[in-house]
């Protein structure tokens, strides 16, 4: 059962991702991106990481893609003005690189594979919270400092007078 669901959501995630890069219309790409994010969230949920799944949807599908769509709407390029994409050497190279990346991650995944069933509680709110504020506290704080500087930078760029 779990395997079937995994296959299903995995296929949706990969298919959606391919659609994201191949659609001509940015709005279609954005909607497929939401689909992909949902499928990935479902994969998290299958691994009992409910917290991660929820956060995935809230942050990525709920906020980040909304920003994408906000920009798409704001620019609102008419359909006939959309650029025609062509297959170029650069893009083919990209496909090759993507293939290598998949291979590499497959190898890494085999090496650091999580033993099945050991994650029953690893994805809960408590477990994630505990991990963030004990083992990974430094990384967590550095990330927040990074984000803070990004926010300040954005404001500095957007505002003419501070």
């Amino acid at each position: 059962m779990e395997l079937i669901l995994f296959m299903l959501f995995g296929a949706i995630a990969v298919g959606g991702a391919i659609m994201v890069v191949t659609r001509r219309h940015p709005m279609a790409s954005a909607l497929y991106l939401i689909l992909t994010l949902f499928a990935v969230a479902a994969l998290f949920a299958l691994r009992q990481a409910h917290f991660l799944a929820a956060i995935q949807v809230i942050v990525y599908a709920g906020a980040v893609v909304v920003l994408f769509i906000f920009v798409i709407m704001l620019v609102n390029v008419p359909e006939n003005k959309l650029p025609m994409e062509r297959v170029t050497g650069m893009r083919l190279l990209g496909v090759v690189a993507a293939g290598l990346l998949i291979l590499e991650s497959a190898v890494l995944a085999r090496k650091f594979a999580m033993p099945a069933g050991s994650t029953a509680d690893a994805g809960s709110v408590q477990a994630v919270g505990r991990a963030l504020f004990t083992d990974y506290l430094l990384a967590f704080e550095i990330t927040s400092v990074l984000l803070l500087s990004a926010v300040i930078g954005a404001i500095a760029m957007a505002k003419k007078k501070i």
Binding site: F51, G62, A63, V66
Partner: protein, 367 residues
């Protein structure tokens, strides 16, 4: 026997909650119109009649539904056909999905099995709620954009900006509740509110988190696009905003989505801040009043009182939407943004901070 029983229970739970929410949606459309009318010294709907009875216009939702079904269902020439047709579904689906995690009663034991009166008792209940209701923005944005028309586009833009702004403070405003009740599971939060504070005050969210309640309620109104935050619709400035180009059943889908959001939102407020299904001073065996009095009440009556309590609270908050809508004028766009980022966000952060301090103090043996 068990799988059949399980499935039957699951179906029953979904059916009951569906019936509750949709029934309330239908009633709310009438309440909104009639309430608006009486607040504005008008009569409101009083025409639709069955067998010569008007009953103050309660048949109007039925008439409205029929009208929606039979109106011309057109698609504007310049619209993006696919996205235009998808948008109402994007609006309605998340609205319906949000109901899944709201508990409408305490767990019941039937035939030796404990059944939660809740469609799905997720261990990330609140987060699920935010995740799914956050999706609702796509319906609005997609509708606004795909109509290929000026006002809808403005409505869509406003909506996306507003949603992002208020989702932040909404999420932070319930942090206090999560900290106090030590769970993100709505059933546990409802259960936790059965205790008493200082021996006489029910330990409802609103009493332990008054600021959190105000912030959450405000953010909820913004998320549900209700006045004073109904900028994406703004009928007096952008005509009807994002659903301007919609008619017939597609339009009614947007309407339904809005009302389902309202009803579910009301249920969530009731659950998190007003004890959910908890009836004041009512324990499992009967009333336990402060001062040591107690009155025994049969278990069935307790259950009925508790579910009734939940329904009553939900009703009240549904009414509050209407009440507020016909009292407060719409904010200006910049006021909405200022309120969201410069008032609500700092206040909700402050709330978390103070809550943390108090909890720490209690942990250390205070009170």
């Amino acid at each position: 026997m068990t799988p059949v029983f399980d499935i039957a229970v699951a179906v029953a739970r979904v059916a009951v909650f569906f019936a509750f929410v949709f029934g309330l949606v239908v009633i709310m459309t009438w309440v909104e119109r009639k309430g608006a009318a009486y607040m504005q010294d008008r009569r409101g709907p009083n025409r639709a009649r069955i067998l010569g009875l008007t009953l103050g216009g309660v048949f109007h939702p039925l008439a409205d539904a029929l009208k929606f079904l039979f109106k011309e269902d057109f698609i504007p020439d310049g619209a993006h056909r696919l996205f235009y047709q998808l948008a109402p579904m994007f609006a309605l689906a998340p609205a319906i999905m949000t109901m899944a995690v709201v508990p409408f009663g305490p767990p019941v034991t039937i035939a030796g099995k404990t059944i939660a009166l809740q469609i799905a008792d997720l261990n990330v209940g609140i987060l699920y709620l935010f995740a799914v209701s956050g999706m609702a923005v796509y319906g609005v944005v997609l509708a606004g954009w795909s109509s290929n028309s000026k006002y809808p586009l403005l409505g869509g833009l406003r909506s996306s900006a507003q949603m992002i702004s208020y989702e932040v403070s909404m999420g932070l405003s319930v942090m206090g509740i999560i900290m106090v009740f030590q769970s993100v599971r709505l059933s546990e939060i409802a259960l936790g509110q059965g205790a008493l504070l200082f021996g006489f005050l029910p330990k409802w969210g609103v009493f332990v988190q008054p600021l959190g309640f105000v912030l959450f309620l405000t953010a909820l109104y913004a998320e549900a696009n209700r006045t004073p935050f109904d900028l994406p619709e703004g009928e007096s400035e952008i005509v009807a905003g994002y659903h301007l180009e919609y008619a017939s059943f597609k339009f009614s889908m947007f309407m339904m989505a809005e009302y389902i959001h309202m009803v579910v939102g009301a249920a969530v407020v009731a659950t998190m801040f007003f004890g959910g299904w908890q009836f004041p001073y009512l324990a499992d065996k009967g009333f336990v009043l402060p001062g040591g009095f107690s009155v025994a009440v049969p278990a069935a009556a307790v259950l009925i009182l508790r579910i009734g309590s939940f329904v009553g609270k939900t009703f009240f908050f549904c009414w509050l939407y209407v009440w507020i809508r016909w009292t407060i004028p719409r904010f200006r766009y910049d006021q909405v943004m200022r309120l969201g980022w410069k008032v609500m966000l700092p206040l909700s952060l402050l709330n978390i901070f103070v809550t943390g301090l108090v909890l720490l103090y209690i942990d250390k043996g205070g009170f």
